[in-house]
């Protein structure tokens, strides 16, 4: 049983926003949808929540149709929780009243409030406060607690951490994941932050200009993006031109093992390498490279490498642990190896 979207499309004001989205979210799992701003992320959540309705395609939850053709279940009957970007806490109600808003059973109310506060790590001293007396992180916790309180089958999170500063973001995210695991609820998070998407979900979907170009486990989409654009969007990617030679590809970095081929048999091909695949050493194994500069940035040291290439030299930046920094000096010759193979794309 799961949340299933089939060929969902949506236009707003005559402009297509989402096209042919199909997605399956397993019960109790977390899915992160990542896309740049304007890619249609929020619209996707609004269709699932029932605030908007798809033009075509259907959405179902546990075998029950939520939206198909003219059949539309209103938002308040779907049992789908929604946490907005800014939390959308009711300013005229206290934290307690906010959390209790979706609860109907009076007798169990107090227990339930206490339980969800516990889940999201919210101090019960906050219950009497009004939303404007809370910090950003606390507001998001209250918003999540409020959404969890009626025990929804699904929770939708619309960039819930983007308003928080970096430190608070990671901390709040951990708390939220913990709470979601504790509540065993199916979750969809949309975000523009790749790292957030890759660390949050069991499944990551990549949304580009209204189309779901890829969905899979975080490792799968990071290591094997469907195209070069997605590869770059999901994290730093180094592209080097290669000539394909069976299971191998030859480049300025030497002979590389081909892990996946997405080049479609084109003549001009490039290989994608993640920075963590590069292994630099002062030893003799690998392709020789010239060390340009060595600069410390906290716990890590950045080494700039120049590889002699045919049209022009290729420059690479590699991060190494600081304790290895003494191995490299500007001007010396080092060697580089590419580990774990590469993915090929058309050039």
């Amino acid at each position: 049983m799961a949340l299933i979207l089939e060929a969902v499309s949506k236009s707003l004001g005559g402009t297509p926003v989402l096209g042919d989205i199909s997605l399956r979210v397993g019960a109790g799992t977390r899915t992160a949808i990542v896309g740049s701003s304007g890619s249609g992320k929020s619209t996707l959540l609004r269709l699932i929540a029932g605030f908007d309705h798809p033009d075509s395609g259907q959405i179902s939850l546990d075998g029950q149709t939520l939206a198909a053709h003219s059949e539309r279940m209103p938002a308040h009957r779907r049992g789908i929780g929604y946490v907005a970007q800014d939390g959308a806490l009711f300013p005229h109600l206290t934290v307690r009243q906010n959390i209790a808003f979706g609860l109907h059973d009076r007798s169990a109310k107090l227990d339930r409030i206490r339980h969800v506060c516990d889940l999201v790590g919210l101090d019960e001293a906050m219950l009497g406060r009004f939303p404007d007396e809370l910090s950003g992180g606390q507001q998001q916790r209250v918003a999540l607690a409020r959404a969890l309180a009626p025990s929804p089958k699904v929770i939708l999170l619309d960039e819930p951490f983007s308003a928080l500063d970096t430190n608070l973001r990671a901390q709040t995210r951990r708390a939220v994941v913990q709470a979601l695991d504790g509540a065993n609820v199916t979750t969809i998070l949309v975000t523009h932050d790749q790292d957030e998407a890759l660390t949050f979900g069991h499944q990551v979907g990549v949304l580009e200009r209204g189309r779901l170009v890829q969905a899979g486990s975080p490792e799968e989409v990071y290591d094997h993006p469907v195209d070069a654009e997605t590869a770059e969007f999901l994290g730093t990617a180094i592209f080097v031109p290669v000539t394909v030679n069976g299971e191998y590809a030859d480049s300025v970095l030497g002979r590389l093992r081909v892990r996946h081929d997405e080049s479609g048999g084109r003549a001009l091909v490039k290989a994608m390498i993640r920075p963590d695949q590069l292994h630099v050493s002062a030893g003799p194994d690998g392709t020789p490279v010239e060390v340009g500069s060595v600069s410390s940035s906290g716990a890590q040291t950045e080494v700039l490498l120049r590889v002699a290439g045919r049209p022009a030299p290729v420059e690479l930046s590699v991060l190494i642990p600081r304790h290895r920094a003494h191995e490299f000096r500007p001007g010396m010759t080092a060697t580089i190896e590419v580990q774990d193979g590469v993915v090929l794309y058309p050039r």
Binding site: T15, T43, G79, G81, G102, L156, D227
Partner: protein, 520 residues
């Protein structure tokens, strides 16, 4: 990727602004039409009376004299109000003046004394007050708070970092004020100047009391002599044109100017200018200002109250009851009409909503007497049964005071974004339940504030009430007026007290609203 057509990007906001229902649009359009009645009236005078008849009515020595009087009054009193209002705002917001928090409240207080009560206070204390000098004096003391409140809010919203940068570039305190603070206050200055000028054009009681003739007093005299004839209409058309010219001047001077804080991070609180030796003269000046603006009128009222059994007038009780009834009905009607306009403009902004707001803005900028003349003419010609009925008075209150309601309601609706209703629906509430449990409770305080502002404004309204109310209607303002204009100063005093007491909550609300805007 090349095979799939790229879908266009659409911002979040566009997804949210759904089309309003047809009923709401029709309602909005109808309201816009009603608000345009006074403007239509002014235009119809020009068309109906015709140039050949209108020109001699307009271009005669009497009109020239009125024009000179009115223009001089606006030209002299407006800059003085700006100087006093902005100066007071700067002292309260940016200097270490002793007791500046108290001064911040006290300087707004004269707003609670209606201009015609203030005029009565001065004239009954010093009977020699008259002419342009007297009019300017009374106008400045009565209207400088109209500049002071928005200027203080604007100064509070300035980023002190700009002033600090100017100082580090070698500017003195005075140079910083002239070169950095003042230019950023341009919008507040223009807006405040416009409000003062419109008040000067519209005021009847305060200037009639000291026998200073302006267009408004002349229209009133003409109306009393010849009813809504062409003469009153022609004068009214000139008066309305003056107002429209002011509106256009202000709008074009404002241009596309926007002064926003650039850069990130919260603005810090300003470093206060140290007054040192200036403290004493400035404090004395402020005490003199407050004494003239509030002290003299209040002392006069108190003196007349003490002259006998002034509270024993028979009409006092019925005036209180009638005012309460008229004013609360006016507030209710205004809120009912303003609510769809505010809702449309916040939830479904479009060209239509801009047009409706523009119509309400222009009409409410016209003097009450023009609105009254328009309604007199309209009811007599089209629906005579509505002439001099409470309904017509209420309609005048709506047209004159709707912006007060709009300001409050818009702020309230903006605090209840659609996202909150959606959150309620995701928590299992139907759309109607969501609106009733979330949006309405959030709106209640701003409805109350808007209604109070309208009601209290209407309680002080004189000209439209005099023209439109059924015979025998007694409100606090008309009773005060009939007593004081027939020189029964003692009889007028209890009404003055009640009018001032009624205005205090309105001023408190305006004061708090101006603080809130600045905090955002």
């Amino acid at each position: 990727m090349a095979m799939t057509p790229a879908l266009q990007r659409v911002g979040r906001a566009e997804g949210r602004s759904r089309r309003p229902s047809l009923a709401l649009i029709v309602l909005g359009g109808a309201i816009a039409l009603i608000t345009l009645v006074p403007v239509g009236y002014v235009l119809s005078i020009a068309v109906e009376v015709g140039g050949s008849q209108l020109l001699p009515l307009v271009f005669r020595p009497k009109v020239g004299e009125l024009l000179v009087n009115t223009m001089l009054l606006v030209a002299v009193a407006t800059p003085l109000c700006l100087a006093v209002g902005i100066g007071a705002a700067w002292l309260v917001e940016r200097t270490d003046l002793p007791g500046r928090r108290l001064w911040a409240v006290l300087l707004a207080a004269p707003l609670a004394i209606p201009a015609f009560v203030s005029s009565y206070g001065w004239v009954s204390a010093i009977s020699g007050i008259q002419g342009l000098g007297g009019a300017v004096m009374i106008a400045v003391f009565a209207y400088y708070p109209l500049v002071y409140l928005p200027a203080a809010a604007a100064i509070r919203g300035l980023d002190p970092a700009l002033e600090e940068s100017a100082r580090s570039l070698g500017c003195s305190t005075w140079a910083v004020f002239i070169r950095v603070v003042l230019p950023q206050l341009r919008l507040a200055i223009l807006g405040g100047g416009l409000i003062v000028a419109l008040h000067l054009l519209a005021e009847y009681g305060a200037f009639a009391m000291i026998r200073f003739d302006t267009f408004t007093t002349a229209v009133m005299v003409q109306y009393q002599a010849t009813f809504a004839g062409p003469a009153a209409g022609a004068l009214g058309a000139v008066l309305a044109s003056l107002c429209l010219v002011l509106l256009i001047l202000e709008a074009s001077a404002r241009g596309r100017a926007r002064y926003a804080r650039v850069g990130s991070g919260a603005p810090r609180s300003a470093t206060l200018v140290r007054m040192k030796l200036w403290n004493l003269p400035v404090l004395l000046g402020l005490i003199a200002l407050l004494g003239a603006a509030a002290g003299v009128p209040l002392a006069s009222v108190a003196r007349w109250l003490g002259t006998g059994d002034t509270w024993a007038q028979a009409e006092l009780g019925s005036a209180v009851v009638q005012t309460a009834l008229l004013v609360s009905a006016g507030a209710l009607l205004t809120i009912l009409i303003a609510l769809p306009v505010a809702w449309l403009s916040v939830r479904h902004p479009s060209r239509l909503t801009k047009a409706i707001e523009g119509a309400t803005y222009v009409t409410s900028s016209l003097p009450g007497i023009i609105v009254a003349l328009a309604l007199v003419t309209l009811t007599i010609r089209l629906i005579p049964s509505l002439y001099q009925t409470p309904f017509t008075v209420l309609l005048a209150y709506v047209l004159i005071f709707i912006p007060r309601a709009l300001v409050s309601l818009r702020a309230g609706i903006a605090q209840a974004p659609v996202g909150l209703e959606e959150a309620a629906r995701a928590l299992g509430r139907s759309p109607i339940q969501a609106r009733m449990r979330v949006t309405v409770p959030i709106l209640v305080p701003s409805i109350a504030a808007g209604a109070a502002l309208v009601a209290l404004g209407a309680a002080n309204e004189l000209t439209a009430t005099l023209l439109l109310a059924p015979n025998g209607t007694r409100t606090l303002a008309t009773q005060f007026w009939s007593a004081s204009s027939s020189l029964h100063y003692a009889d007028a005093a209890p009404y003055a007290v009640l009018l001032i007491a009624l205005s205090v909550p309105a001023v408190a609300i305006m004061f708090l609203q101006s603080r809130k805007v600045a905090r955002r």
